[in-house]
């Protein structure tokens, strides 16, 4: 196979030869081996490799983009040509300054585990079976509905005409299970547990048991009392609520386009003094840690909120230059409205590992702290929040009523409503144990005066 950097160099040279004033070429993608279970038994085993080349060619501020999932040198030249042609057909972006310059790349440990590249489908079949069985054996009312084990390896090679030449690689091993519990006519919601790690240290029994426990505890339902209460949010609920609101407003593009609630508020108190939040692309073992971002800019740690005070925003190269503050190494690729693979999309600003400084309380102490309120494990509908205004109106599921400092029963159908920008000003307490869910590395958090709506 042709070396990724060689493919990149060929594309870069071709784009420049065709008249591009600047160009960038990246080979990225990866391989995933996965085994999934449905209704407690193994269904499919799959192996997918998806690596592609993406090229940006800039002609006097006009930006062209093209990609291909075929990695021959001949194809590299074709893609470069297509990008240059697209640039010719495009319109000048007056804000364009230039591609990023090289920077000092941090040495990273703990992001690549060769054991993950070696795990076989057969071993994963055993793991998912064990995971589903431990859920089913926990309680006969539990159905392990959907689950998966996956071992993935990802790679990046990137060069640009400003002198960037970087490579990175990483691994992630994931186990997940969604379980339901049924008792007569009562049905629990689908309750999931997910375990993601950069190292190969799977614990299928724990994942199965956690999902099963949550499903069974959801069967014991009781009434929802409407009103304003202290509410304990699990990491998954926090990640969903903050992801579509606060995180959006911390993005440099939103700030400079007048779409952020935090625009013009640097140095101001925007959250409770209990809240310190940083983005750390170099966090040891972090799911989104790496040497460089998707433009080849070194990853780093950026304090965003320090004891409630707004300290910085997140930038990629483009918006970092527009804002005059430089990239913070937060360029990501992949996803977008059409859920495209990384090589098929342009860079855009995304958090890496967003770390909330932990507090001192155990889970039991947090529940006692709530005393009379709710414990929200996850929410549904957070993506419908209004990122500009911060308004959210979501279903809390699974969620539980806390009375006299004890978790009493689940509250099917309870809604939690409010404004995320106000919510972060009302943090009462933070847990001492952090966990990563998606981009968020955080403890569980108790907020005051959260509005709960019920039928």
């Amino acid at each position: 196979m042709t070396q990724p950097l060689e493919v990149c160099e060929t594309a870069l040279k071709t784009a420049l030869r065709l008249g591009a004033s600047e160009a960038e070429a990246a080979v990225l993608g990866g391989t995933a081996v996965s085994v999934d279970v449905e209704r407690g038994q193994v269904k499919t085993s799959s192996r997918v490799t998806d690596v592609g080349l993406s090229v940006r060619a800039i002609l006097q501020g006009r930006i062209g983009f093209a990609y291909s999932n075929r990695l021959t040198l001949q194809q590299a030249a074709q893609v470069a040509k297509a990008a240059a042609k697209a640039a010719q057909a495009s319109v000048r972006d007056e804000k364009w300054s230039s591609l990023p310059d090289p920077g000092a790349i941090p040495s990273m440990e703990g992001t690549f585990d060769p054991a993950i590249t070696r795990v076989t489908a057969e071993e994963m079949v055993e793991m998912v079976t064990a995971m589903a069985d431990s859920a089913a054996q926990f309680d006969r009312r539990v159905l392990p509905a959907f689950g998966e084990a996956s071992a993935s390896t990802h790679q990046l090679a990137i060069v640009n005409s400003c002198g960037i030449e970087a490579e990175d690689a990483g691994t992630v091993f994931a186990l997940s299970l969604g379980a339901m519990a049924r008792s007569g006519s009562r049905v629990s919601p689908l309750c999931s547990e997910v375990e993601l790690s950069r190292r190969f240290e799977p614990n299928p029994n724990r994942v199965g048991l956690e999902a099963a426990r949550l499903a069974v505890s959801s069967l014991n339902a009781g009434p929802t009392e409407p009103g304003s209460f202290p509410v304990l949010f699990d990491q998954r609920a926090l990640q969903a609520l903050l992801g579509f609101t606060v995180v959006s407003s911390l993005r440099g593009d939103m700030v400079h386009r007048g779409r952020s609630a935090y625009a013009g508020k640097l140095g101001e108190l925007i959250a409770s003094e209990h809240l310190s939040l940083s983005d750390d692309g170099t966090l040891s073992g972090g799911l989104l840690s790496g040497r460089v971002d998707m433009e080849g800019v070194p990853k780093r740690r950026t304090p965003l909120i320090v004891r409630g005070e707004l300290e910085s925003f997140l930038y990629d190269n483009y918006w970092g230059r527009v804002g005059g503050r430089g990239s913070t190494g937060n360029a990501a690729r992949g996803g977008g409205p059409l859920r495209s693979p990384g090589y098929a999309t342009l860079p855009r600003i995304e958090p890496t590992n967003m770390v909330v400084e932990a507090g001192v309380l155990s889970e039991e102490e947090l529940i006692e702290e709530v005393k009379n309120g709710y414990y929200v494990r996850d929410v549904q509908g957070a993506h419908q929040s209004n990122p500009e205004s911060g308004e959210f109106s979501v279903v809390a599921v699974p969620a539980f009523r806390i009375v006299d400092g004890e978790v009493r029963h689940s509250v099917p159908g309870a809604m939690v409503v409010g404004n995320a920008y106000d919510l972060v000003r009302r943090i009462r307490a933070l847990g001492k144990e952090s966990r990563q869910v998606g981009f968020l590395v955080a403890p569980k958090v108790v907020f005051d005066d959260v509005r709960v709506v019920a039928a």
């Binding site: 085994v35 209704r39 038994q41 193994v42 269904k43 499919t44 085993s45 799959s46 192996r47 997918v48 490799t49 998806d50 690596v51 930006i63 062209g64 093209a66 990609y67 291909s68 999932n69 075929r70 194809q75 074709q78 297509a82 697209a86 640039a87 495009s90 319109v91 007056e94 489908a121 079949v125 055993e126 998912v128 159905l143 339901m180 049905v187 919601p189 689908l190 409407p226 386009r257 007048g258 409205p337 059409l338 549904q380 509908g381 993506h383 419908q384 209004n386 500009e388 205004s389 308004e391 959210f392 109106s393 979501v394 279903v395 159908g413 809604m415 409503v417 409010g418 509005r451 709506v453």
Partner: protein, 469 residues
């Protein structure tokens, strides 16, 4: 648009012979789905053109059923050698999975097909010059800003995807299908007196004629209108109220709340309608179907990605649960007929049970009749998004809504969610209005998929409104 020197599709003979050569003798079924997709995508934000992208990608997906377990692999190669290698990998994967099979998967029998299917459109997006697409998008961006000085930021995105797909199966199906999608998205941010808000607009079609009835100024007026409405809107009250769901909201309710739990894979996994086929689950006013036959919808397909003909699948007929959406595997398991709902995002993934065009059947009540007699409630005009859980808990985020006061539309209210349990809510549906209008959207069930949904306005006796007042 010129493909990047990849303008060949491997002839189905090559795929068939690759499948024959690679298939493990123990395998009971095998398929290769080869694709080539040409796309144009571009985003204009606040007048600046973010890179224009034109690309072609190709690859093949291989599925093998062996001893009751599935193996899957995907390759970016369309050459025989690469496809054979990937097919052998899929066989190895199936063999690994089959070690732990307790209840072997089977697939329902279907007639094999040999056919070439073209999408009929007025204007093929591939025939439209890219400069015209860019100009249209830039005009839309300008029109939004020109509509009102309170507009602060505008993002508009355009995408067209043209796919040529060949499906060959070990049973003898050879199906060449074209897929065309044209999609346009607008997001407008408006600000007044320090209050910031936003609204979205999403439209689609199979051909570029989408923009004949959606001129830049028409779309701009629509989306800016929604954002400005929110600026003058007040928060809704939280609690249970009678509501009239607008056409746009009815569709997302049909899709999220009803559709997902009627996808047979999710029903088998324990969704809220498990064991309810043939039972009354809603009032007489409710008829809901998922159809591949509404040609203007994003979900119009002649065959699904397993080669099963598309059809109109009735889910609820006058209140009775009469059907589920199936692929060949769930159909075999439940002794039902496959309904043509197996769809795959692309060659990187196997097909899943996905909706096509999901809708409430209209009836004959006028809009005024639907409002009649509601002393205090809400008219929910357009949505921001929706989500559902298997237990039937659904939520729909509403971006635009109005109060209903004494049977008439009142002041606008903003940014609220509605939620409830699907079955309980269906029982509260009192009446359906006139006209079927489809919405164009994207659904993420692990994979991305273009789909449509819709219906007439529908009156619901009570629904939980997550208002902040």
């Amino acid at each position: 648009m010129k493909p990047l020197g990849l303008s060949f599709m491997p002839v189905s003979d090559t795929l068939r012979s690759a499948l024959e050569q690679a298939m493990d003798v123990r395998a009971s079924y095998g398929e290769i789905r080869a694709q080539q997709t040409a796309s144009t995508t571009v985003t204009v934000r606040d007048g600046s053109v973010e890179a224009l992208s034109q690309a072609v990608e190709s690859g093949a997906a291989i599925r093998i059923l062996l001893n009751g377990a599935w193996g899957f692999s995907s390759t970016n190669s369309l050459e025989k050698k690469g496809v054979i290698q990937a097919a052998k990998e899929a066989c190895r994967m199936a063999a690994a999975a089959s070690m732990a099979v307790r209840e072997p998967a089977r697939i329902a029998e279907v007639k094999t097909v040999t056919e070439r299917v073209k999408v009929r459109v007025k204007t093929d997006p591939r025939s439209v010059d890219v400069s015209e697409k860019l100009r249209n998008l830039i005009d839309l961006n300008k029109s939004c800003f020109a509509s009102d000085p309170r507009v602060r930021s505008v993002t508009v995105s355009y995408a067209d995807l043209a796919t040529d797909q060949t499906l060959v199966t070990s049973e003898g199906t050879i199906l060449e299908q074209e897929k065309l999608f044209v999609w346009n998205y607008a997001w407008v941010t408006a600000k007044e007196d320090g209050h910031l808000t936003s609204a979205r607009d999403e439209i689609g079609a199979h051909g570029y004629e989408l923009f004949e009835s959606n001129r830049p100024e028409t779309v701009a007026q629509r989306v800016v209108g929604k954002a400005l409405n929110q600026l003058r809107a007040k928060p809704a009250k939280g609690g249970t109220y009678p509501c009239v769901l607008g056409k746009n909201v009815v569709g997302v309710f049909a899709h999220e709340a009803v559709g997902h739990i009627c996808e047979a894979d999710l029903t088998l996994a324990g969704s809220a309608v498990q064991g309810m086929l043939g039972k009354r689950i809603a009032g007489e006013a409710v008829t809901i179907a998922d159809s591949a036959l509404l040609s203007e919808g994003f979900g119009a397909i002649k065959y699904d990605d397993e080669g099963v003909p598309g059809e109109r699948t009735a889910l609820i007929d006058r209140g009775v649960l009469v059907g589920l959406m199936h692929n060949r595997e769930t159909a075999a398991k439940m002794s039902a007929k496959p309904t043509g709902n197996a769809r795959a995002q692309d060659f990187r993934v196997p097909p899943l049970i996905r909706m096509r065009n999901t809708y409430f059947e209209p009836s004959d009540h006028s809009f005024e009749e639907l409002l009649e007699g509601i002393d205090h409630g809400y008219y929910l005009e357009s949505f921001r998004g929706g989500q559902a859980n298997l237990d039937g808990t659904f939520t729909v985020g509403i971006q635009n809504a109005f109060e209903i006061s004494r049977g008439e539309l009142g002041l606008p209210v903003r940014n609220l969610g509605i939620s409830g349990n699907t079955l309980a809510t269906l029982r509260e549906v009192e009446a359906c209005g006139r006209g079927l209008e489809l919405e164009y959207g994207r659904c993420g069930k692990g994979q991305f998929m273009f789909q449509s949904s819709g219906g007439p306005p529908v009156r619901v006796r009570k629904i939980l409104v997550g208002g902040t007042d």
